[in-house]
């Protein structure tokens, strides 16, 4: 068994208004960061998963996303997997 660190990023889907993103963008502009555009505020979830292979970790993440981590009506997600050296 190897240990993996999974990083899951969840944001609202394109086309879904993200009121927090809009507020952060306005604040950035107010502070002079006028080139900032399309701010999206989301969730960042990390988890350690023990598995034989990275493929197995992928399957677990995608299954969790489908079952409860992500609501596909409003959200989309991506993830990264790192092997944890012990």
């Amino acid at each position: 068994m190897a240990k993996f660190l999974a990083k899951v990023f969840i944001t609202y889907r394109k086309g879904i208004l993200d009121p927090q993103g809009v507020a952060v963008e306005k604040a950035a502009h107010q502070l002079g960061f006028t080139s900032v555009k399309n701010v999206r505020v989301g969730k960042y979830i990390t988890m350690e998963i023990e598995a034989e292979t990275e493929e197995e970790v992928k399957r677990e993440i995608e299954e969790m996303a489908k079952k409860f981590l992500v609501n596909p009506v409003i959200e989309e997600y991506s993830y990264q997997i790192e092997k944890v050296e012990e």
């Binding site: 879904i16 009121p19 927090q20 409860f68 981590l69 609501n71 009506v73």
Partner: protein, 231 residues
């Protein structure tokens, strides 16, 4: 008639609903613990408002995984009457018993106030004692009531008459001006295609006694009794 009220960690309107059922309506209310699987032979389930599991991940996302929710889903599939109020509505959406999802209010703030609602569909077990087009006054209290769904879903629920309640002016004008949270088409409450599952953001249990400032919500509970007892 026997009503079941599921109680999740963080539910906080369960006793209010129970009060209306028992003290105002004079019917039986039983509480259903989230870890249990026994619906205790109830005729109708009312999922109360609150913050089940602290709204962790998304409102309703954790509660949909509770054993009692699985039982409620099966009950609904058999045609059982299920109503979800506020967080209860969010749970019904997450559980897939109703279409769509909730986003944070467009104002990003928690809104707690009386609103006006236009009754769009009276042909449901939850609204049969109202008049179509009638405007009622019931409070909302939520941070995530900004209803949204895919364009094809919206088309479908509109065409099927599944939109039961809309935010409106006291005269029944439905426009952005009277939309407190940014909800699509001013949607405040919807039912499933079959009509036995109903979710709404407003709190009818907080508008069922004159001392609370409105009794407009009481007819929702009375509608349920009307349908079940007279059937």
């Amino acid at each position: 008639m026997k009503f079941g009220i599921p109680v999740y960690p963080g539910s906080n309107c369960d006793r209010d609903v129970g009060w209306v059922i028992e003290k105002v309506l004079g019917h039986e209310a039983v509480y259903l613990w989230h870890k249990d699987r026994d619906l205790k032979g109830v005729d109708c389930v009312i999922i109360p408002g609150g913050f089940s599991y602290g709204d962790y991940l998304r409102p309703g996302a954790m509660a949909k995984l509770s054993p009692i929710t699985e039982e409620i889903c099966e009950f609904a599939e058999r045609g059982g009457l299920v109503m979800g109020i506020c967080n209860g509505f969010q749970i019904l959406l997450e559980a897939g018993l109703l279409p769509g999802a909730m986003l944070p209010n467009k104002t990003l703030s928690f809104i707690c106030k009386f609103v006006h609602l236009k009754i769009e569909n009276t042909n449901t077990p939850f609204t049969n004692l109202y008049r179509k087009g009638e405007v009622v006054r019931i409070p909302i209290a939520h941070a995530e009531g900004n209803y949204t769904c895919l364009p094809e879903t919206l088309k479908e629920i509109e065409e099927n008459g599944q939109v039961v309640l809309r935010y409106s002016s006291p005269e029944g004008i439905v426009s952005e001006e009277f939309n407190p949270n940014g909800s699509l088409n001013n949607i405040a409450g919807i039912c499933n295609k079959r009509g036995n599952v109903f979710g709404l953001m407003p709190h009818p249990e907080r508008a069922s006694e004159a001392i609370l400032g409105s009794t407009d919500g009481l007819r929702m509970f009375q509608s349920i009794v009307e349908g079940v007892v007279k059937a």
